[in-house]
Amino acid sequence: MSVCGYADLMPERGACALVGAEQVAVFRTFDGRLYATGNRDPYSGAYVLSRGIVGTREGEPTVASPMHKQVFSLVTGACLDDPATFIPIFPIRVTSGMVEVSVL
């Protein structure tokens, strides 16, 4: 499903897209790549991950939950501070300037 234009996304920041009933956090990193994860912070239960700070940890692209700062890998969804906890990862791509994600 197409959610927004690529240019609508700020580099090094996330945005949230509503895909059906699913809240998907979409991130555009400094190198232009896109990542999509669930928007729900598994620790607080709040739908806020798209508002976290994007960065890297030992080269791996990450987002830090804005609630209590746990850091998640944008690639695997694993919480790097607590590897037993995961957030969902969704496929994402750009087609003719539009960002598309799939939650199937």
Partner: protein
């Protein structure tokens, strides 16, 4: 295979099982309490909000742990134990770790509902439940544990009394002089002390209504907590014919064996060398000795250090070594509430012990020297105890809880490359129990030449202060340039907001301009404070807490129209909660139009300058404190800093604005103003120190300007002014030198920087509303800008909204 059965699961049993790790045998633990062993030393923190899980020790793997099982009998011939519910366990080795029970003196009424002891988490739950409907509580016993219990009652909001038989408090740890100083401290905290007093009766009839003293005084109370000493739980040993001491305790030899060679006793139930040990350190040592013996070793227990350092009531009380000696030196300052006494041998060369009340610095530095040559003249040691950095001999005991010596800690640093306190805790156990030896551990780290890393995070090896210098000197205005030229990788949630703050202090640009926006924490990113359900709060600035009725009405109307929860904050202003991101610009449009501006509640920046009404209205006021507070708040609003900044101005020495708990606080005098700096409420309260006195308004402002800018430049990330001052080489005198006497030649620069800030200030929210590009981010969903987040829901409580539906 050896079958080990352990009776009791307290700290001693926990340490025993840990020390048996790797031993091939089966271990069964039968514990009477409904939960696994927990850190009883930290029991009181449970009432302060720690959970039972926080206190619980890691549950050992590969052992059978039966909780809620009280052992009722030992059959030594058959080598079995029986529990209350009839279960029988066979043993080859039996370890009794049954601890002790609080002693309840046989006074009439001691069984009434409302009487408690203070030993287990269940006891605390019961006390807390009873406290909900009580107004006053009494602790019987003014020893170490009694005062801890009293502090807990006070924390539960009760009017608290302590009844102590001896003429002074903590008679086992301090002498009469120390006791007097201690009493002052305790009474200043609002506790009532009845020393030299017994208990005639607990008054009833159906439940506790008070305590009757022998002098006829009745102290009314609904709760009585007995803390009149402990008695070893030796009832099982007694019933099965093991040797017990005349005054209780299971007799053990130096290998912790009882009179039956297949039964050991450890911890507070054991009578070792004719003594019961009521501190966790010796209990741990006993557990380790027993474990070693079970494994076939020859370790033995030869008594232990009974030094104590009280860690509560905000009063330092410490005792180490002997409490008497041929010679002694005493230092006493009743005004400051300090009492220190050292005992030395008759030739004045060997340190025997000491007592400290109000200042435990000598405990930290001198305890390891007990029994050793004095490291200096006794009086010097008493006066300079705090700043003293002595070289500890290798065999000096650093951590008495875990019996760790200086040599062991040093070896961990030098041979195993440990570089920080958490590392030392993991590797040597030192510091992991009561924590009172942590200052010594730090001292050893520093003395061993460990470079304490100042790196901000994995992306920058520099400290925040160094990055500030770099950005300033090189004129760097973006994160990208700073990390490309001076860091590695792409940053993280630690360095990005820190650099954003540095750039904001230096350049005064809008925090959401260009690439700055991506650096900000969610709070700065939405110029509002995130709440637990993902909504935000709105705090307009109300300088000095002064507000016109019209503006008050506007706030009320906005809150009503947007359905926001409304509360007066602790900072003399009003907070509106429960706004969704897409509502924030609409709310702020209304507020800005009515003349409000951002209160920076979300930023590491100036929060509030609180004020009292001062000389305008108050019959005691000597200066116009409200006017000054408004002037200061307006001058420094928007200044981004390493951590938040708070201030207050009081109109006279009565200090109604609480200025001395602030980063900078001003108190009016007949002749001008006194400026106090580096105070803190919060997690670690600190009273502010007097920096300059009786200055006029212009001098005051210039001094604050420089103080703030010097802090902004040199502090670490998230270091409040109080911690900054404590880490500053040379402390307050150095600070005064730099900003009053210009000893570093910095002042012209600091002045100029503040002037730039004041001249460049603009309201962040107004600027945001004027910029469609910045407004674009205020939506819940990029692909559905009008749709509110369906996960957010509220219910009504006390006529206002509160969040629901957030769960983890």
């Amino acid at each position: 295979m050896t079958r080990i059965v352990v009776v009791g699961h307290g700290p001693s049993a926990y340490r025993l099982v840990e020390s048996l790790r790797g031993f091939t045998g089966s271990i069964t633990i039968l514990g009477e309490e409904p939960r696994p062993a927990y850190d009883r030393v930290a029991l009181t923190s449970y009432l302060a909000g720690k959970s039972a899980e926080d206190l619980t020790y890691p549950v050992p793997q590969g052992v059978t742990l039966r909780l809620g099982s009280r052992v009722t009998g030992i059959d030594r011939a058959a080598r079995t134990v029986t529990t209350a519910d009839g279960e029988i366990s066979a043993y080859d080795v039996l370890v009794l770790a049954t601890g002790s029970a609080p002693f309840v003196p046989p006074v009439p009424g001691r069984e009434l509902p409302g009487c408690f002891v203070y030993r287990t988490i269940d006891d605390l739950d019961a006390i807390a439940a009873a406290a909900a409907t009580a107004t006053a509580g009494i602790v019987v016993g003014g020893g170490l544990l009694g005062l801890e219990a009293a502090d807990a009652l006070r924390g539960l909001g009760l009017d608290t009394h302590v009844v102590e038989m001896s003429p002074w408090l903590m008679p086992r740890q301090v002498d009469e002089g120390g006791g007097a100083v201690l009493r002052d401290h305790v009474e200043r905290l609002g506790l009532t002390v009845h020393a030299g007093a017994g208990v005639t009766e607990i008054a009833g009839p159906d439940r506790v209504t008070g305590l009757l003293k022998p002098d006829g005084e009745l102290i009314p109370a609904q709760i009585v907590v007995f803390s009149a000493g402990i008695r070893p739980r030796d009832e099982l040993a007694r019933a099965s014919g093991l040797a017990v001491g005349e005054r209780g305790g299971i007799v053990v030899d130096e290998g912790m064996r009882t009179s039956d060679p297949s039964i050991y006793a450890i911890g507070e139930c054991a009578l070792a060398g004719g003594q019961i040990y009521g501190l966790v350190g010796p209990c741990f040592t006993m557990a380790e000795v027993a474990a070693d013996r079970i494994k076939g070793g020859v370790a033995s227990f030869h008594g232990a250090d009974l030094s104590t350092k009280l860690k509560l009531l905000g009063v330092a009380v410490a005792q180490f070594g002997q409490m008497s000696g041929a010679l002694d030196v005493t230092y006493m300052d009743p005004v400051a509430g300090v009492y220190k006494r050292l005992f030395v041998s008759d030739d004045a060369t060997t340190l025997l012990g000491g007592i400290c009340v109000g200042d435990a610095a000598p405990y930290d530095t001198l305890r390891p020297f007990v029994g050793k040559p004095l490291p200096g003249a006794p009086s010097d040691l008493l006066f300079t105890g705090g700043g003293l950095t002595l070289d500890l001999p290798d065999d000096a005991q650093v951590c008495s809880c875990n019996n760790v010596r200086a040599g062991t800690v040093r070896a961990a640093v030098l041979d195993q490359g440990i570089t920080d306190v958490p590392g030392l805790k993991a590797c040597t156990r030192a510091g992991s129990t009561c924590g009172s030896c942590v200052p010594l551990l730090k001292q050893i780290l520093v003395k061993s030449g460990v470079p304490v890393s100042k790196a901000l995070c994995e992306h920058f090896t520099q400290s925040r202060a160094e990055l500030f210098e770099i950005a300033q000197v090189r004129g760097i205005a973006t994160f990208t340039r700073l990390i490309e030229e001076h860091g590695t990788g792409r940053g993280c949630d630690i360095c990005k907001p820190a650099v954003a703050s540095i750039l904001a202090s230096l350049h005064n640009a809008h925090v959401l301009d260009g690439e700055h926006a991506a650096l900000q924490d969610t709070n700065d990113h939405f110029l509002a404070n995130i709440q637990k359900n993902g909504t935000y709060s709105v705090v307009p600035r109300i300088p000095g807490g002064e507000i016109t009725p019209d503006k008050l009405i506007v706030i009320g109307e906005v809150a009503r129209d947007f359905g926001l929860y409304t509360k007066i904050t602790g900072g003399q202003r009003i907070d509106l909660f429960g706004a969704r991101v897409e509502q924030l610009p609409l709310i702020w449009r209304r507020l800005v139009d009515a003349g409000f501006e951002s209160g920076h509640a979300y930023g590491k920046a100036l929060r509030t300058v609180k004020s009292c009404v001062g000389s305008t209205w108050c019959r005691y006021g000597v200066q116009d404190s409200a006017a000054l507070a408004i002037l200061l708040e307006t001058r420094y609003r928007g200044l981004r800093s390493p951590h938040k900044l708070k201030s207050a101005v009081s109109g006279c020495a009565r200090e109604c604005a609480e200025a001395r708990s602030k980063d900078f606080g001003v108190i009016a005098t007949e002749n001008g103003w006194n400026l106090y700096v580096c105070g803190n409420g919060g997690f670690k309260p600190r009273h502010a120190d007097l920096l300059v006195s009786d200055v006029d308004t212009a001098t005051l402002i210039r001094t604050i300007d420089r103080f703030l800018m010097f802090y902004v430049r040199t502090a670490d990330r998230l270091q409040r002014t109080s911690a900054w001052l404590e880490a500053l080489d040379g402390g307050l005198d150095h600070l005064r030198d730099v900003i009053v006497n210009d000893s570093l030649g910095l002042c012209a620069d600091l002045d100029a920087q503040i002037e730039r800030h004041v001249a460049g200030y603009f309201d962040e929210w107004r600027a945001t509303l004027d910029d469609p590009d910045k407004l674009r981010r205020f939506t819940s969903f990029v692909n559905a800008p009008g749709v509110p987040d369906p996960s957010i829901a509220f219910v009504t409580e006390r006529d206002q909204i509160r969040p629901v539906g957030v769960s983890s």
